[in-house]
């Protein structure tokens, strides 16, 4: 038994036999030819065959993954017909008097190198497309039928990497899972696997290829991004049980997916999900969350060795907004300090960081950091329904400073001719007792409130979250905390402001009824809790 770690791109478990994917790109040999015309004709024939195949793949992709994701194959067809690409192949054949396969392979390397040297992630990824179309032409040149899986039984497909066209060309019914040594979670392959609902683990590392062979047993855990080769009986039993649990959750999903979050007497509530990175979007969509109630933007800062640029942030925010396709996305501005420290911020050691220099306090003291984030947020706003939320608010003055900063950023963008949405909602976290107590003053200044129950509990009860010695004094259902939330709810509604809860308490089904009675508008929870909360809401009768 051997365990490998990678990145799960679709959360499900597969147990079965391995089929090692063999590409037909058998190393291309350079051979001398005497008749260039024949060679050029071979290229033309191979190209039309490749175009036929791509058009069939495009059709298949349209049915299986939808128009947006199928578009890539249309681009592939256009690339095959590109003048420069073809000129290059032709001139290599004619001037060097070499075989077509070699000319295509060299051309492929040159164009792929051009794209991978560009300073833009999107364009860099296009070099994989160049290689994909070139391999297809080469395989058509050698008369190879393009690799369809030959086996009839259901297999776990393992490979170094899979091109999008390879991923789609498998018969979906025969694929239990995909496992690749390389790849990125934003690659087309990952996106396609997700859309085909096939468990997939990528980036497992090259070594795993040495440990597998056709027919060996494997467990693929798409939740944890783990791959187990030759598992023992006990492990198989444990994973079979997990698979059943998944099946049960899937049943729940079938029953509840697309259903309203509505009580028996007709009270509605939004159930959103929290995420800490672009990777979490798959789980959010899979669990049918109505939006994102808390997007923790600090992951961008934590993952980086230096301040993330406006462009890096813009790309991440845009990806999330686009993936959510018009559903609300609330992004919380930088919340570091306290338990989350970042070296390059150069923050001094504090004896009591929970009450120290953190979150919006850092943003207001370092406007250049704040400004970069707000510019990226507003630029991304045209791609969906964005809400911006400021953490750790304690006073009217702080709230006044934040929208002022937003206005400045919007003025800058207008002057530069950059588009931004004018429907961006601006809100604050209610996570200090001070904010809850003066919520009547804060509400008229914002569009929404979101209660962070973890900090609100820690500050209200004077109990350090990090200190395990005082755990028994932390009553998460403490009446003081619940009353503060209720106070904020009353003041929010009196000012036509909506209020959500994004802390851990939101997922506590024993409080769902109480929150509904407070007329909380939204609960934002970890993705796996969305459906259990929906089930709870639908069982409650407030009348």
């Amino acid at each position: 038994m051997k365990l490998f770690h990678g990145k799960g791109v679709y959360g499900a478990i597969a147990i079965g036999c391995v089929s090692v994917f063999k590409r037909q790109e058998a190393s291309v040999r350079r051979t001398h030819i005497t008749d260039a015309a024949t060679e050029l004709e071979r290229v033309e024939n191979a190209k039309s065959k490749a175009l036929e195949q791509l058009s069939a793949i495009h059709e298949k992709a349209l049915k299986e993954v939808g128009e947006t994701h199928a578009q890539i194959f249309e681009i592939h067809m256009m690339m095959i017909e590109d003048d420069d690409y073809n000129d290059s192949i032709r001139s290599i054949i004619e001037t060097q008097m070499v075989n077509a396969e070699y000319a295509v392979a060299v051309t492929s390397d040159n164009f792929a190198a051009m794209f991978s040297s560009m300073d833009d992630d999107y364009m860099q990824a296009r070099s994989a497309d160049v290689k994909d179309i070139s391999n297809r032409i080469i395989s058509c040149l050698s008369d190879g039928e393009n690799s369809d899986s030959e086996s009839d039984s259901r297999m776990i497909i393992c490979s170094d990497d899979l091109a999008p066209s390879e991923t789609v060309s498998f018969d979906k019914e025969n694929v239990l899972a995909f496992v690749t040594a390389f790849g990125s979670s934003s690659s087309h392959t990952a996106i396609l696997a997700r859309n085909m609902n096939i468990p997939a683990v990528i980036c497992v590392g090259e070594e795993f290829l040495n440990d597998i062979s056709d027919g060996c047993m494997m467990i693929v855990d798409g939740h944890k991004g783990e791959v187990i080769i030759d598992p023992d009986e006990e492990t198989v039993a444990a994973y079979t049980a997990k698979q059943q649990e998944d099946a049960h959750r899937k049943d729940l999903l079938q029953q509840l997916r697309g259903k309203d979050n509505i009580t028996r007497d007709g009270t509605r509530i939004n159930i959103f999900a929290n995420i800490s990175g672009v990777d979490g979007i798959g789980a959010i969509l899979a669990n049918d969350a109505g939006g994102i109630g808390l997007f923790r933007s600090e992951f961008l800062y934590l993952e980086s060795d230096d301040y993330p640029t406006e462009e890096q942030q813009f790309t991440a925010y845009r990806k999330v907004l686009e993936s959510m396709a018009g559903k609300k996305v609330i992004i919380r501005t930088l919340d570091i300090g306290a338990d989350k420290q970042i070296d390059y911020f150069g923050l001094e050691h504090e004896d009591n960081p929970a009450m120290g220099f953190r979150a919006v306090r850092i943003c207001l003291e370092r406007p250049e950091v704040f400004r970069t984030q707000l510019r990226a947020l507003y630029r991304a706003s045209v791609f969906g329904e964005l809400g911006i939320m400021f953490p750790m608010i304690t006073s009217v003055n702080e709230v006044a400073e934040c929208p002022a900063m937003c206005d400045m950023v919007k003025r800058e963008l207008s002057e530069e001719g950059m588009p931004f949405s004018d429907k961006v909602e601006v809100g604050i976290m209610i996570e200090t007792p001070a904010a809850a107590i003066i919520s009547d003053r804060l509400a008229p200044m914002v569009d929404f409130f979101s209660v962070g129950t973890n900090d609100l509990t820690q500050y209200t009860l004077a109990c350090d979250r990090q200190n395990s010695k005082i755990e028994r004094f932390v009553d998460t259902h403490h009446e003081a905390v619940l009353r503060l939330i209720e106070m904020a709810a009353v003041n929010a509604h009196a000012n036509n402001v909506w209020i959500g809860i994004c802390g851990e308490l939101a997922a506590d089904t024993s409080l769902t009824e109480r929150f509904l009675r407070m007329r909380i508008d939204e609960l934002s929870v970890s993705a796996p809790f969305v459906l259990p909360i929906r089930e709870k809401v639908r069982s409650i009768d407030l009348s």
């Binding site: 578009q71 890539i72 249309e74 681009i75 256009m78 690339m79 590109d82 003048d83 420069d84 690409y85 164009f111 051009m114 794209f115 560009m118 300073d119 833009d120 999107y122 364009m123 296009r126 497309d129 160049v130 813009f314 845009r318 630029r379 991304a380 045209v382 791609f383 530069e416 001719g417 950059m418 588009p419």
Partner: protein
């Protein structure tokens, strides 16, 4: 010869799909050459991969030069395409 410049407003710039459509559009005007220039580098827009290789992003200003028998119509079509899609 017709000249005009355009500043990209679409936030992703000239990525694969619009590049493909722009190349297709320009190919329709046989005998007329549509060149796009960014930072001194100039390419024929019918050449999809070179066009993508220019890496035109939001906020970039590009200059078009259209020359040939159909230059009036081609320039108009390209300008309209840019305004609607980019």
């Amino acid at each position: 010869m017709k000249n005009f410049s355009y500043t990209i407003k679409d936030s992703v710039g000239i990525h694969a799909r619009p590049a493909g459509n722009l190349a297709k559009l320009a190919k329709g005007f046989t005998g007329t050459k549509v060149m796009i220039e960014k930072n001194g580098k100039s390419v024929d827009v019918t050449k999809l991969m070179m066009l993508m290789g220019l890496g035109v992003k939001c906020g970039d200003t590009v200059n078009f030069t259209v020359e040939g028998p159909d230059e009036e119509a081609a320039a108009k079509a390209v300008e309209e395409f840019m305004q609607t899609n980019l």
